[in-house]
Symmetry: C2
Subunit: 185 residues, 2 copies
Protein backbone atom coordinates (compact mmCIF):
# COMPACT_ATOMS: atom_id res chain seq x y z
CA UNK A 1 0.00 0.00 0.00
CA UNK A 2 1.21 3.52 -0.70
CA UNK A 3 0.35 6.81 0.92
CA UNK A 4 -2.31 7.64 -1.62
CA UNK A 5 -4.13 4.36 -1.17
CA UNK A 6 -4.03 4.78 2.59
CA UNK A 7 -5.65 8.20 2.22
CA UNK A 8 -8.43 6.70 0.11
CA UNK A 9 -9.30 3.94 2.52
CA UNK A 10 -8.77 5.63 5.91
CA UNK A 11 -9.15 9.34 5.21
CA UNK A 12 -12.20 11.56 5.50
CA UNK A 13 -12.81 14.33 3.03
CA UNK A 14 -13.80 17.73 4.38
CA UNK A 15 -14.43 21.13 2.89
CA UNK A 16 -13.38 24.41 4.50
CA UNK A 17 -14.75 27.75 3.38
CA UNK A 18 -12.55 30.81 3.25
CA UNK A 19 -11.89 31.99 6.79
CA UNK A 20 -12.80 28.68 8.47
CA UNK A 21 -10.22 27.14 10.76
CA UNK A 22 -9.10 23.53 10.60
CA UNK A 23 -7.58 23.76 14.06
CA UNK A 24 -6.42 26.52 16.41
CA UNK A 25 -3.18 27.02 18.26
CA UNK A 26 -3.59 25.29 21.62
CA UNK A 27 -5.92 22.59 20.31
CA UNK A 28 -4.99 18.96 20.33
CA UNK A 29 -5.18 17.57 16.79
CA UNK A 30 -3.27 14.45 15.92
CA UNK A 31 -4.36 14.31 12.29
CA UNK A 32 -2.51 14.81 9.08
CA UNK A 33 -4.27 16.77 6.33
CA UNK A 34 -3.77 16.34 2.63
CA UNK A 35 -4.82 19.33 0.52
CA UNK A 36 -6.62 18.45 -2.70
CA UNK A 37 -7.67 21.93 -3.77
CA UNK A 38 -7.57 25.43 -2.35
CA UNK A 39 -5.13 27.33 -0.17
CA UNK A 40 -4.47 27.38 3.56
CA UNK A 41 -2.19 29.26 5.91
CA UNK A 42 -0.49 28.03 9.07
CA UNK A 43 0.31 30.79 11.53
CA UNK A 44 1.56 31.45 15.03
CA UNK A 45 -0.07 33.97 17.33
CA UNK A 46 2.35 35.43 19.89
CA UNK A 47 1.40 36.27 23.46
CA UNK A 48 1.17 39.92 22.40
CA UNK A 49 -1.32 38.97 19.69
CA UNK A 50 0.99 39.28 16.73
CA UNK A 51 0.74 36.90 13.83
CA UNK A 52 3.66 35.19 12.09
CA UNK A 53 3.05 32.88 9.16
CA UNK A 54 4.74 29.51 9.25
CA UNK A 55 3.69 28.37 5.79
CA UNK A 56 1.15 28.44 3.00
CA UNK A 57 -0.27 25.08 2.02
CA UNK A 58 -1.03 24.36 -1.62
CA UNK A 59 -2.74 21.42 -3.38
CA UNK A 60 -0.81 18.16 -2.95
CA UNK A 61 0.87 19.40 0.24
CA UNK A 62 0.38 17.80 3.64
CA UNK A 63 0.04 19.67 6.90
CA UNK A 64 -0.32 18.77 10.54
CA UNK A 65 1.04 19.87 13.87
CA UNK A 66 4.06 17.75 14.69
CA UNK A 67 4.15 19.06 18.22
CA UNK A 68 0.63 17.74 18.75
CA UNK A 69 1.10 14.56 16.72
CA UNK A 70 4.50 13.60 17.98
CA UNK A 71 5.63 15.64 20.98
CA UNK A 72 2.50 15.15 23.06
CA UNK A 73 1.89 18.90 23.26
CA UNK A 74 -0.85 21.06 21.81
CA UNK A 75 -0.81 22.54 18.33
CA UNK A 76 1.80 25.29 18.22
CA UNK A 77 0.03 27.05 15.35
CA UNK A 78 -3.40 27.63 13.81
CA UNK A 79 -4.52 26.44 10.39
CA UNK A 80 -7.03 28.49 8.41
CA UNK A 81 -8.43 28.34 4.93
CA UNK A 82 -7.74 31.31 2.59
CA UNK A 83 -9.95 29.91 -0.19
CA UNK A 84 -12.58 27.21 -0.26
CA UNK A 85 -10.45 24.08 0.15
CA UNK A 86 -10.93 20.34 -0.05
CA UNK A 87 -8.90 18.35 2.48
CA UNK A 88 -8.48 14.72 3.38
CA UNK A 89 -8.05 14.15 7.09
CA UNK A 90 -6.39 11.07 8.51
CA UNK A 91 -5.44 10.29 12.11
CA UNK A 92 -1.67 10.10 12.38
CA UNK A 93 -2.07 6.96 14.47
CA UNK A 94 -3.37 5.15 11.39
CA UNK A 95 -0.31 6.15 9.43
CA UNK A 96 2.03 4.88 12.11
CA UNK A 97 0.02 1.69 12.49
CA UNK A 98 0.12 0.88 8.77
CA UNK A 99 3.72 2.04 8.53
CA UNK A 100 4.72 -0.59 11.07
CA UNK A 101 3.22 -3.32 8.90
CA UNK A 102 3.79 -2.09 5.36
CA UNK A 103 7.29 -1.38 4.12
CA UNK A 104 6.21 0.41 0.95
CA UNK A 105 4.18 2.85 2.99
CA UNK A 106 7.03 3.26 5.48
CA UNK A 107 9.32 4.26 2.61
CA UNK A 108 6.69 6.68 1.33
CA UNK A 109 6.66 8.32 4.72
CA UNK A 110 10.46 8.57 4.70
CA UNK A 111 10.33 10.26 1.29
CA UNK A 112 7.74 12.69 2.51
CA UNK A 113 9.68 13.56 5.66
CA UNK A 114 12.89 14.07 3.72
CA UNK A 115 11.20 16.54 1.42
CA UNK A 116 9.72 18.36 4.38
CA UNK A 117 13.08 18.54 6.14
CA UNK A 118 14.72 19.91 3.02
CA UNK A 119 12.07 22.62 2.82
CA UNK A 120 12.59 23.58 6.46
CA UNK A 121 16.35 23.71 5.89
CA UNK A 122 15.89 26.16 3.06
CA UNK A 123 13.77 28.41 5.23
CA UNK A 124 16.29 28.23 8.06
CA UNK A 125 18.99 29.20 5.60
CA UNK A 126 16.98 32.20 4.47
CA UNK A 127 16.45 33.51 7.97
CA UNK A 128 20.08 32.94 8.93
CA UNK A 129 21.76 34.33 5.84
CA UNK A 130 19.41 36.76 4.15
CA UNK A 131 17.96 40.20 4.85
CA UNK A 132 14.24 40.87 4.60
CA UNK A 133 14.76 42.37 1.15
CA UNK A 134 16.72 39.34 -0.06
CA UNK A 135 14.05 36.99 1.26
CA UNK A 136 11.42 38.94 -0.68
CA UNK A 137 13.45 38.75 -3.89
CA UNK A 138 14.09 35.03 -3.37
CA UNK A 139 10.36 34.37 -3.01
CA UNK A 140 9.58 36.26 -6.20
CA UNK A 141 12.02 33.94 -7.93
CA UNK A 142 10.96 30.67 -6.38
CA UNK A 143 7.18 30.93 -5.96
CA UNK A 144 5.73 33.70 -8.12
CA UNK A 145 2.37 31.89 -8.19
CA UNK A 146 1.89 32.48 -4.49
CA UNK A 147 2.24 36.24 -4.88
CA UNK A 148 -0.94 36.45 -6.90
CA UNK A 149 -3.04 34.58 -4.38
CA UNK A 150 -2.11 36.12 -1.05
CA UNK A 151 -2.32 39.61 0.38
CA UNK A 152 0.71 41.76 1.02
CA UNK A 153 -0.17 41.50 4.65
CA UNK A 154 0.20 37.73 4.69
CA UNK A 155 3.29 37.82 2.52
CA UNK A 156 4.99 40.20 4.96
CA UNK A 157 4.09 38.05 7.96
CA UNK A 158 5.50 35.04 6.15
CA UNK A 159 8.78 36.80 5.39
CA UNK A 160 9.16 37.84 9.01
CA UNK A 161 8.34 41.52 8.70
CA UNK A 162 5.45 43.99 8.86
CA UNK A 163 3.26 45.00 5.91
CA UNK A 164 4.64 48.53 6.22
CA UNK A 165 8.18 47.21 5.96
CA UNK A 166 7.33 45.13 2.91
CA UNK A 167 5.73 48.09 1.17
CA UNK A 168 8.92 50.06 1.71
CA UNK A 169 11.05 47.22 0.38
CA UNK A 170 8.88 46.85 -2.72
CA UNK A 171 9.33 50.52 -3.47
CA UNK A 172 13.09 50.29 -2.95
CA UNK A 173 13.34 47.24 -5.21
CA UNK A 174 11.28 48.91 -7.95
CA UNK A 175 13.50 51.98 -7.97
CA UNK A 176 16.58 49.73 -8.19
CA UNK A 177 15.00 47.84 -11.09
CA UNK A 178 14.22 50.98 -13.02
CA UNK A 179 17.77 52.26 -12.51
CA UNK A 180 19.07 48.96 -13.81
CA UNK A 181 16.90 49.44 -16.87
CA UNK A 182 18.46 52.79 -17.72
CA UNK A 183 21.33 53.05 -20.18
CA UNK A 184 24.42 52.66 -18.06
CA UNK A 185 27.16 55.21 -18.84
Amino acid sequence: MNFHELLLCEGNTLEKEKGEHVFMQGDSDKSLYFIQTGLLKAYYTSSSGKEAIKSFILPNDFIGSLSSIYAGQNCSFSLVSLETSMLVKIPFEKIVEYGKKDIVLANNIIEFLMRLTLKKERREHEFLCMSAEERYLALIESTPILLKKITQNDLARYLGMTPVGLSRIKKRVQSKMSKQGENNP
Copy 2:
Protein backbone atom coordinates in the same frame (compact mmCIF):
# COMPACT_ATOMS: atom_id res chain seq x y z
CA MET B 1 17.87 -4.63 12.29
CA ASN B 2 17.82 -1.22 13.93
CA PHE B 3 19.74 1.96 13.17
CA HIS B 4 22.42 1.21 15.72
CA GLU B 5 23.11 -2.25 14.36
CA LEU B 6 23.33 -0.87 10.83
CA LEU B 7 25.93 1.64 12.00
CA LEU B 8 27.99 -1.16 13.54
CA CYS B 9 28.01 -3.33 10.46
CA GLU B 10 28.20 -0.75 7.66
CA GLY B 11 29.71 2.36 9.26
CA ASN B 12 33.34 3.47 9.42
CA THR B 13 34.68 5.17 12.48
CA LEU B 14 36.77 8.31 12.01
CA GLU B 15 38.40 10.83 14.30
CA LYS B 16 38.52 14.56 13.62
CA GLU B 17 40.84 16.89 15.51
CA LYS B 18 39.73 20.38 16.52
CA GLY B 19 39.63 22.56 13.42
CA GLU B 20 39.50 19.69 10.92
CA HIS B 21 36.65 19.68 8.43
CA VAL B 22 34.43 16.70 7.71
CA PHE B 23 33.21 18.31 4.49
CA MET B 24 33.08 21.77 2.97
CA GLN B 25 30.24 23.75 1.46
CA GLY B 26 30.23 22.92 -2.25
CA ASP B 27 31.51 19.36 -1.79
CA SER B 28 29.46 16.34 -2.69
CA ASP B 29 29.07 14.10 0.36
CA LYS B 30 26.24 11.63 0.50
CA SER B 31 27.07 10.23 3.91
CA LEU B 32 25.34 10.45 7.24
CA TYR B 33 27.53 10.97 10.31
CA PHE B 34 26.77 9.77 13.80
CA ILE B 35 28.63 11.63 16.56
CA GLN B 36 29.94 9.42 19.37
CA THR B 37 32.00 11.99 21.25
CA GLY B 38 33.09 15.59 20.76
CA LEU B 39 31.45 18.67 19.26
CA LEU B 40 30.99 19.89 15.69
CA LYS B 41 29.54 22.92 14.01
CA ALA B 42 27.65 23.14 10.72
CA TYR B 43 27.87 26.57 9.10
CA TYR B 44 27.03 28.46 5.93
CA THR B 45 29.47 30.84 4.28
CA SER B 46 27.75 33.59 2.30
CA SER B 47 29.06 34.98 -0.95
CA SER B 48 30.38 37.98 0.98
CA GLY B 49 32.35 35.62 3.22
CA LYS B 50 30.15 35.86 6.27
CA GLU B 51 29.49 32.87 8.46
CA ALA B 52 26.12 31.77 9.84
CA ILE B 53 25.85 28.72 12.05
CA LYS B 54 23.20 26.19 11.18
CA SER B 55 23.67 23.94 14.18
CA PHE B 56 25.98 22.48 16.77
CA ILE B 57 26.22 18.71 16.79
CA LEU B 58 26.57 16.88 20.10
CA PRO B 59 27.18 13.21 20.94
CA ASN B 60 24.31 10.95 19.79
CA ASP B 61 23.25 13.42 17.10
CA PHE B 62 23.33 12.70 13.39
CA ILE B 63 24.40 15.13 10.69
CA GLY B 64 24.59 15.12 6.93
CA SER B 65 23.80 17.43 4.06
CA LEU B 66 20.29 16.68 2.86
CA SER B 67 20.78 18.83 -0.21
CA SER B 68 23.71 16.61 -1.22
CA ILE B 69 22.16 13.34 -0.07
CA TYR B 70 18.70 13.86 -1.37
CA ALA B 71 18.40 16.86 -3.68
CA GLY B 72 21.30 15.94 -5.97
CA GLN B 73 23.06 19.23 -5.23
CA ASN B 74 26.28 19.95 -3.39
CA CYS B 75 26.58 20.44 0.35
CA SER B 76 24.98 23.73 1.28
CA PHE B 77 27.09 24.05 4.43
CA SER B 78 30.47 23.09 5.91
CA LEU B 79 31.01 20.76 8.86
CA VAL B 80 33.97 21.33 11.17
CA SER B 81 35.12 19.83 14.46
CA LEU B 82 35.30 22.18 17.48
CA GLU B 83 36.83 19.50 19.71
CA THR B 84 38.47 16.16 18.97
CA SER B 85 35.47 14.09 17.87
CA MET B 86 34.72 10.46 17.09
CA LEU B 87 32.27 9.94 14.23
CA VAL B 88 30.75 6.99 12.45
CA LYS B 89 30.31 7.56 8.73
CA ILE B 90 27.80 5.65 6.64
CA PRO B 91 26.79 6.18 3.01
CA PHE B 92 23.19 7.25 2.85
CA GLU B 93 22.64 4.80 0.02
CA LYS B 94 23.17 1.96 2.46
CA ILE B 95 20.51 3.33 4.76
CA VAL B 96 18.00 3.60 1.94
CA GLU B 97 18.91 0.15 0.68
CA TYR B 98 18.40 -1.50 4.08
CA GLY B 99 15.35 0.64 4.77
CA LYS B 100 13.68 -0.82 1.70
CA LYS B 101 14.13 -4.34 3.03
CA ASP B 102 13.86 -3.95 6.77
CA ILE B 103 10.71 -2.50 8.29
CA VAL B 104 12.18 -2.03 11.77
CA LEU B 105 14.95 0.08 10.33
CA ALA B 106 12.47 2.01 8.17
CA ASN B 107 10.50 2.89 11.28
CA ASN B 108 13.72 3.94 13.02
CA ILE B 109 14.40 6.32 10.17
CA ILE B 110 10.89 7.73 10.42
CA GLU B 111 11.40 8.33 14.15
CA PHE B 112 14.68 10.06 13.48
CA LEU B 113 13.25 12.29 10.74
CA MET B 114 10.29 13.27 12.89
CA ARG B 115 12.59 14.38 15.68
CA LEU B 116 14.69 16.34 13.22
CA THR B 117 11.65 18.04 11.71
CA LEU B 118 10.40 18.99 15.15
CA LYS B 119 13.76 20.58 15.94
CA LYS B 120 13.74 22.57 12.70
CA GLU B 121 10.20 23.73 13.41
CA ARG B 122 11.28 25.09 16.80
CA ARG B 123 14.10 27.02 15.18
CA GLU B 124 11.77 28.38 12.49
CA HIS B 125 9.42 29.48 15.23
CA GLU B 126 12.23 31.30 17.03
CA PHE B 127 13.29 33.22 13.94
CA LEU B 128 9.72 34.10 13.04
CA CYS B 129 8.44 35.11 16.44
CA MET B 130 11.36 36.14 18.63
CA SER B 131 13.85 39.03 18.77
CA ALA B 132 17.59 38.38 19.00
CA GLU B 133 17.44 39.04 22.73
CA GLU B 134 14.57 36.58 23.21
CA ARG B 135 16.41 33.91 21.22
CA TYR B 136 19.44 34.38 23.47
CA LEU B 137 17.35 34.02 26.62
CA ALA B 138 15.59 30.95 25.21
CA LEU B 139 18.92 29.27 24.50
CA ILE B 140 20.15 29.93 28.04
CA GLU B 141 17.03 28.14 29.24
CA SER B 142 17.06 25.22 26.85
CA THR B 143 20.72 24.37 26.34
CA PRO B 144 22.91 25.90 29.05
CA ILE B 145 25.51 23.16 28.50
CA LEU B 146 26.30 24.50 25.06
CA LEU B 147 27.14 27.96 26.41
CA LYS B 148 30.14 26.61 28.27
CA LYS B 149 31.63 24.89 25.26
CA ILE B 150 31.38 27.45 22.48
CA THR B 151 32.73 30.95 21.97
CA GLN B 152 30.57 34.03 22.04
CA ASN B 153 31.46 34.46 18.42
CA ASP B 154 29.92 31.13 17.45
CA LEU B 155 26.94 31.63 19.73
CA ALA B 156 26.16 34.95 18.04
CA ARG B 157 26.44 33.46 14.56
CA TYR B 158 24.08 30.70 15.61
CA LEU B 159 21.51 33.16 16.95
CA GLY B 160 21.62 35.15 13.72
CA MET B 161 23.52 38.20 14.92
CA THR B 162 27.06 39.57 15.26
CA PRO B 163 29.34 39.04 18.27
CA VAL B 164 29.18 42.79 18.92
CA GLY B 165 25.40 42.64 19.03
CA LEU B 166 25.43 39.66 21.40
CA SER B 167 27.82 41.42 23.75
CA ARG B 168 25.45 44.36 23.92
CA ILE B 169 22.49 42.09 24.58
CA LYS B 170 24.32 40.26 27.37
CA LYS B 171 25.03 43.56 29.05
CA ARG B 172 21.42 44.67 28.69
CA VAL B 173 20.14 41.37 30.08
CA GLN B 174 22.52 41.54 33.06
CA SER B 175 21.40 45.02 33.99
CA LYS B 176 17.76 43.87 33.79
CA MET B 177 18.56 40.87 35.99
CA SER B 178 20.23 42.99 38.66
CA LYS B 179 17.31 45.40 38.67
CA GLN B 180 14.97 42.46 39.12
CA GLY B 181 17.06 41.39 42.12
CA GLU B 182 16.56 44.71 43.89
CA ASN B 183 13.75 45.17 46.42
CA ASN B 184 10.79 46.29 44.41
CA PRO B 185 8.89 49.17 46.01
